[in-house]
């Protein structure tokens, strides 16, 4: 089955999906893998809330090759350097990327990026009292882009958000090693996500979505196990790679 899906994939080779393609492919797929590919990280909750649509970064796992160009692009954009008073993209150590490709043995690569969950378990876990004026906790969702932000001045570094993300969703939120303050929430690069732009294989898409499928905000290990079962007939993983 996995092979058929791979072949289906080739008909759409190397193009980022438009919303129409996206919907079309969901129709084509019907099987677990394709659904996972489209919805693995970012799924149903928005649809459940009745909110119509939003734009976000989606992963097609059947196209990802694990090259990690997305990580370097993210790192470059979100960790710029100052040079003679001018801000320039950095040189891209993946360590500082918000998107992270998790690699496993057997060979499965799962790019993990903030799922922008509509019910924001991370924000709910934030113990900082809401601000009287904005009613924002330290961690909050931006009303316009729906991205998650942290007010570092008010954040106490308790790591509750990261724990909530790890136990309930993708686990993408990572506490800073020194301060404990959350990092790696997707910024969408101001509307031009560099990971999507730089992916050589069209595995990432920036599309408007409605989500009505059951795979929701799963962590990379679970997604990898699903993929491995389909690709290699085993869900037995060791190790992290």
């Amino acid at each position: 089955m996995a092979r058929e899906i791979t072949n289906t994939d080739k008909s759409l080779a190397n193009t980022n999906l438009s919303r129409r393609d996206f919907i079309k492919r969901v129709g084509i797929g019907g099987g677990t893998i394709v659904l996972l590919g489209q919805f693995g990280v970012h799924a149903a909750a928005w649809a459940l809330t009745g909110e119509p649509q939003l734009k976000m970064v989606l992963v097609d796992y059947t196209k990802c090759t694990g090259c990690r160009t997305c990580e370097t692009a993210c790192s470059s954009r979100n960790r710029p350097v100052m040079l003679k008073g001018q801000e320039l993209p950095g040189l891209g150590n993946p360590r500082y990327a918000n998107i992270r490709v998790h690699s496993f043995n057997p060979d499965v690569d799962v790019p993990n990026v903030c799922a922008m969950c509509s019910d924001t378990p991370c924000v709910k876990a934030c113990p900082v009292e809401p601000d009287a004026k904005t009613s924002r906790r330290a961690l909050y969702r931006d009303g316009e882009t729906h991205t998650i932000h942290n007010d570092t001045a008010r954040c106490i570094g308790c790591q509750s958000c990261a724990r909530a993300c790890a136990t309930e969703r993708t686990g993408v939120i990572t506490p800073n090693a020194a301060t404990g303050k959350p990092e790696r929430m997707c910024t969408l690069c101001g509307g031009d996500p560099q990971c999507v732009k730089r992916c050589p294989f069209g595995a990432l898409s920036y599309v408007e979505v409605r989500r009505d499928r059951k795979f929701y905000g799963r962590g990379p290990e679970k997604i990898a196990a699903e993929l491995a079962k389909n690709w290699y007939g085993t869900a037995e993983f060791g190790g992290m790679k």
């Binding site: 891209g92 060979d107 050589p200 294989f201 060791g238």
Partner: protein, 600 residues
């Protein structure tokens, strides 16, 4: 620490005998002249081994892991790590030194080289010998040597998993050896991500001789560039040259496996221990068949838009997960060369070799030699410990692989390679012992491809198919392998200008095509100086007689055979064009002066 942009200027020295590590500055002059990767590794080897004849398996021989100036930057396909050491495989016909051997280098893709640079180093040089099996953990500036006895004998696939579990952080990038390396099989490999290898030239053996099972590295730093805006502009152009192109897609489609059928059709494939150049059943083990029956994913190395690596699954008796393959080399050496056309069987052999940590090329070559010797009744089944090593026999091949990895019985002799085997067996078997300087040839056959024959005989590490078929290509490849880029994307002409632009922007040194090749020529000549000092002469640049005597009997190149005089004439011209003495192959004074190697 560095005075030169694009580099940290730091080499990490680790002495496993004393357990000490230190960060030593790399002279700016060396960075300028030898660049990184294979070149800078060679310079470090040259500086360390001041005299010829050092035992490659002695603590003194350094094992050097080298990224290049592209490594750790998001340059397309800048994924390579070059491992450099003194070869535990090669030797000259005669020499004053008991342990004379060539330089050895082996180049692998993946994620290790970039991570070395993130950790703050331009290379890692390991000397000494640990009292017991150990592994090294490098976390930025922190370097630890840890006891690793519990990993003894562990195969690479399971080790890949349990080692990362033990480290507890998936950001570590790891390299390691299998049982073959621990058992000091000369042609054992260093593995990375369970399916990538620095396979050739005995890297795993040298690593094993140091009682070193594995190295893990991660880093939070970033190599810098000389001209940041210029780098970004050139990076954009480099991506444009490759992204979404038909060229890139053709690599993603079949990787090197495309060559399994293509080279068979061209009569340039190693078939039946190099007796033929065409394998009528090539399509059963080729890229189309693999795409149809095996592969489920295309996999890329760091920042590579080509994705030539394939993973998949086979079913049945030999079924299992395939980390990579068939590639051209692995598919031909264990397939066509042994007349194996059973895809799952072939992949079982390939997977087993990676799992044990053996070089696929040398192992396939050795088994092909033994199959031919057995067929010709120069050896009997008893010699082979009861293995009925007939052509195309998968089970016998797997049994032989087991013997080689453990050095049991016939394995103890087989691990010494086809040259030693043929000397032991005699009876004219030297003719079809397919090696140069003691290193087995790779999957490109040459009765109908004389230039590749030149590559095999003049390459610095022994029979190497990638050295280059002429001087310009050799110089270029030596330089490419010094920068950290993979050479697969560099066959795309549109990448050439952005690549040179990137290298100039990173290092602050202006490279055009001539300057690039000049640096490669310097590197190639230093390798030659090393080999010459060990005692290698023209008589060592010698092809086995098969290529001059056994014309192909099938295929489009039927009747092809090399001509001794033509080949000798070509070789004489090669040395002259190199500026080397055509009798002795000694690099001439004028050439060395021109390259600034006269003081070397």
């Amino acid at each position: 620490m560095s005075g030169k942009p694009g580099y940290h200027g730091v080499l990490l020295n680790i002495d496993l005998s004393t357990g000490k590590s230190e960060k030593v500055p790399i002279p700016v002059e060396d960075l300028d002249r030898f660049v990184g990767g294979q070149g800078l590794g060679m310079k470090i080897l040259w500086d360390r081994l001041k005299k010829p004849g050092v035992n490659p398996l002695s603590p003194e021989n350094p094992l050097i892991f080298m990224p290049g100036p592209f490594s750790g930057l998001p340059v397309p396909s800048s994924s390579r790590t070059c491992v450099v050491t003194k070869s535990p495989i090669t030797s000259p016909m005669k020499s004053d030194y008991p342990h004379a051997s060539t330089v050895s280098y082996s180049n692998m893709g993946g994620f290790f080289g970039p991570e070395i640079r993130f950790a703050g180093y331009d290379g890692i040089a390991i000397t000494g010998k640990a009292p017991e099996l150990c592994y090294i953990v490098i976390d930025d500036g922190k370097v630890e040597i840890r006891e690793g006895k519990r990993f003894k004998g562990m195969r690479t696939d399971v080790f890949d998993k349990v080692f990362l579990d033990a480290l507890g952080d998936r950001r570590f990038k790891t390299v390691y050896i299998g049982p073959a390396g621990e058992n000091l099989v000369p042609f054992s490999s260093v593995l990375h991500t369970a399916g990538r290898a620095a396979g050739r030239g005995g890297m795993g053996c040298v690593m094993g001789s140091k009682n070193l099972k594995a190295i893990a590295v991660k880093g939070s730093g970033q190599p810098t560039v000389a001209d940041h805006p210029r780098f970004l502009a050139a990076l954009e152009k480099a991506r444009q040259a490759l992204y979404g192109t038909a060229y890139a897609k053709s690599w993603a489609e079949q990787g090197t496996a495309r060559g399994i059928v293509a080279n068979s059709n061209a009569g340039t494939e190693a078939v039946r221990n190099y007796r033929e150049g065409t394998f009528p059943e090539a399509d059963k083990i080729g890229g189309d068949a693999a795409r149809r029956d095996v592969w489920v994913r295309d996999i890329a190395c760091y920042c590579c838009p080509l994705a030539c690596k394939k993973s998949g699954m086979t079913k049945g008796k030999y079924g299992g997960i395939v980390h990579d393959g068939p590639e051209y080399e692995t598919g031909v050496m264990l397939g066509s060369n042994l007349l194996i056309s059973d895809m799952p069987g072939l992949l079982k052999a390939i997977t087993t070799l990676d799992d044990l940590g053996l070089d696929q090329i040398s192992t396939g070559n050795v088994i092909g030699f033994l199959m031919e010797a057995y067929e010709k009744k120069l050896i009997d089944q008893k010699f082979l410990d009861g293995i009925d090593l007939t052509w195309g026999n998968v089970d016998a091949t797997l049994a032989m692989i087991g013997k080689i990895a453990t050095k049991e019985g016939v394995g103890a002799l087989a691990v010494k390679g086809v040259r030693a085997l043929s000397r032991h067996i005699g009876k004219g078997s030297e003719k079809f012992a397919i090696q140069v300087k003691g290193l087995e040839l790779a999957a490109h056959n040459i009765q109908a491809n004389q230039p590749r024959g030149l590559s095999y005989v003049t390459a610095s590490r022994g029979a190497c198919h990638m050295s280059g078929d002429d001087i310009a290509m050799q110089n270029r490849r030596a330089m490419l392998d010094s920068t950290g880029i993979c050479f697969f994307p560099t066959f795309e002409p549109a990448l050439e200008a952005p690549m040179l632009d990137l290298l100039s922007a990173i290092t602050g040194h202006e490279y055009d095509k001539a300057e690039f090749e000049k640096a490669g020529e310097r590197i190639f000549n230093l390798e030659k100086l090393f080999n010459y000092r060990e005692g290698f002469r023209r008589e060592d640049d010698r092809l086995p007689d098969r290529f001059f005597e056994d014309a192909f009997t099938v295929g489009p190149k039927k009747g092809s055979v090399l001509d001794r005089n033509t080949f000798a004439t070509m070789l004489t011209q090669y040395y002259k064009d190199r500026g080397w003495d055509s009798e002795t192959t000694r690099p001439g004074k004028a050439k060395l002066k021109e390259l600034g190697l006269d003081a070397a």
